[in-house]
Amino acid sequence: MKHLLSAADLSRDDAEQLLTTAAQMHDVQRREVKKLPVLRGRTVVNLFFEDSTRTRSSFEIAGKWLSADVINVSAKGSSVSKGESLRDTVMTVAAMGVDALVIRHHASGAPAQVTDWVDATVVNAGDGTHEHPTQALLDAYTMRTKLGDLAGRRVGIVGDLTHSRVVRSNLILLRTLGAHVTLVAPPTLMPSGIADWAAAEGFSYGYDFDEVLPTLDAVMMLRVQKERMTGGFFPTPREYTVGYGLTRDRLRVLPEHAVICHPGPMNRGLEITADAADEARSLILDQVSAGVAVRMSVLYHLLGGAES
């Protein structure tokens, strides 16, 4: 594996190995000396075309704890308006002798396109409304710490699925790990062609949260951006919460062992009630350190060996 562009790049073995290594990396973080010498002399560039302090610092620490030289390059804004093409920007950065580019982009597919232009390893740190594979690895890692093996487990993903990059990666990875996934959203917030997609891949989707709620081992609540309201995706926040929010009533119906995930940032009171948010909150803090471990694992597996 040279790049990590999509959760679909990972076989079940790959995913298991990444998660196992992540657990070992997580152990390392409890030590006084957190640095490992594996990527000494390697250069990792965080090339972010869109702000994301959380993801950027997570990759930055991950790289540094593996002894790589990490450089952050911010290239915000449309390349079209700047008059420099994406290719030119990326090739300029790559010309500095970079081993890996960690790319965040507001447009879907940008990291995949970049692999045609540079020799460096490319890690997708979130592209448009497409994928965010390291977030999915982190979510799977967190779920596994609470649920053990995910094979046969039922996971519901609820919220703004159309505009979410997290949903695609999670759907793919969770299914790779043997979990049953159900997507839940109002029809206006479902990904295009969901019926064909679900039929082709064999996962389920629905518009009724209450129907799937009691069967779930884990529920992932995705952020609903306020600006979706002006897009006419749903009439009011109140109506959204009644239909698709993780409310106090729904919290009671959710099986006790079930894990609540939220990739954040949360809209308390919209997609998640304060109580549920507090419950999810503890996981979210867990996730910050696990996030670094997962990204260390990814960087180690992509860069730690001989060039393929």
């Binding site: 093409s85 990059r165 062609g193």
Partner: protein
């Protein structure tokens, strides 16, 4: 000694109806049958099909404004290499072709170069802004005698403005060619057919219905105003249905389909390859099948290339931000041969209709799309119908390289093109 103005085309199959020799002298067809002309330059056309010179209703030649992507010269060469003798140059240049002067300039540049008749398309609205009508009448009265008006690249989405345009051009026999895209349903970033693939790739969807509602609205406006409307680059089965219905009602609607919408499907976007980003987007195979049927049964009148060259760097942005469009002039006839003629969906006579006769009639180009008969202007195309060609995008006459057919194998090879009796392409070489 052979006379430079006299050519004898030997052994060509005229529109697939039988082999005859054609003598061309002083720009017109002088004799058909078994002419005897000692002074003529002989063009051996054994095994070739002769068609009236092709007419493209829809090309972007980029001059003035983006001469780094294409010029009228290079676009003309690409057209001649593809068997075209007339090309309608879209108005979305910089400056926009929205005045008589701008239209005449395009006309003159084409005539100066002389490889193909370049006929300007006028903008419907000033600056393509969709707010007020451009000087349609002055463009029509100019030396360029503009008859086709289009804001192509953008839709004339304001229903009242569209109604006025349709009414206004009646005075001089004009036609509005509509880029059907309801902007509220498919905005400027919409770039992938809305469906399973756009969902998986996370690309902004361009649903077929955004085209269909405009086609439906426009045929009703055409009925109401008694005007004629032309639908540019029809891409969906739904649009075909609407057009078929409208024709049955006697509404004056014509429509064109591009070579790429006849052959390439939406799955090509899987790897975010920008060569395949085009507007309207590549559609699923079900649509392609219906488009081929509609072209075969006459619901769609014409094949038009929507040749859209782009400088490399404009195709090197993130997918949703890069330029729309692909090349088409050089491969159009090969594609039609491959997907329509070879499978038996169209005869060569029908190819002459959809690629020459009908487009010339829609565009009001009297000297083009004529029969191959004595006294007619000698605008001719010779094609080898069976040659298998692997397209080499790097060998294009276009300045740009966004060729979706690159490395694909197509059937047929354009051998020669004659514009008013003068070869512009001979033995696959451009004749400057």
């Amino acid at each position: 000694m052979s006379d430079a103005n006299t050519y004898l085309i030997k052994g060509a199959d005229l529109l697939g109806a039988g082999r005859q020799d054609v003598l061309v002298r002083d720009g017109v067809v002088a004799e058909v049958g078994t002419p005897d002309a000692q002074d003529a330059t002989v063009i051996e056309a054994d095994g070739l099909i002769a068609l009236p010179g092709l007419v493209d209703l829809h090309a972007h030649l980029r001059e003035p404004g983006r001469e780094d992507a294409e010029t009228i010269a290079t676009g003309s060469a690409a057209a001649a290499a593809g068997g075209f003798t007339a090309v309608l140059a879209m108005a979305n240049t910089s400056p926009v072709t929205d005045t008589a002067e701008a239209a005449e300039r395009v006309l003159d540049l084409g005539r100066d170069y002389g490889l193909v008749d370049v006929q300007p398309v006028g903008a419907v609205t000033k600056g393509l802004a969709g707010e007020q009508l451009a000087e349609l009448g002055l463009m029509a009265r100019s030396r360029a005698a503009v008859r086709v008006f289009s804001d192509d690249g953008r839709c004339v989405h304001d229903a009242r403005l569209m109604r006025r345009a349709l009414e206004y051009v009646k005075a001089f026999g004009g036609v509005v060619s509509q880029h059907a895209q309801e902007p509220r349903l498919a905005d400027q970033f919409a770039c992938c057919h809305e469906g399973e693939l756009s969902g998986r790739l996370g690309l902004p969807g361009w649903p077929g219905v955004a085209e269909e509602v405009i086609v439906a609205r426009d045929v009703m406006l055409a009925r109401h105003t008694g005007s004629r409307v032309h639908v540019a680059h029809v891409s969906t089965a739904g649009s075909v249905e609407v057009i078929r219905w409208a024709r049955a009602q006697g509404i004056a609607v014509t429509a064109e389909v591009t070579p790429h919408h006849l052959m390439l499907d939406t799955s090509l976007l899987t790897g975010y390859d920008l060569t395949f980003k085009v507007n309207p987007p590549l559609r699923p195979t079900e649509d392609i099948t219906e488009l081929r049927k509609a072209l075969a049964d006459g619901t769609i009148d014409a094949v038009a290339t929507d040749h859209a060259p782009h400088a490399r760097h404009d195709k090197q942005h993130a997918f949703a931000e890069a330029a729309f469009g692909m090349l088409g002039l050089e491969q159009a006839l090969q594609v039609v041969n491959t997907v329509m003629v070879q499978p038996g969906l169209l005869t060569w006579a029908q190819v002459a209709d959809v690629m020459s006769v009908t487009p010339a009639r829609i565009a009001g180009l009297d000297g083009h799309g004529r029969p191959i008969a004595v006294g007619e202007p000698a605008n001719l195309t010779l094609i080898d119908p069976v040659a298998t060609v692997t397209v080499d995008g790097a060998a294009s006459h276009s300045l740009s390289r966004n060729n979706p057919w690159h490395r694909l194998s197509l059937t047929g090879r354009v051998h020669a093109t004659l514009l008013r009796g003068r070869p512009t392409l001979l033995n696959e070489e451009i004749q400057e």
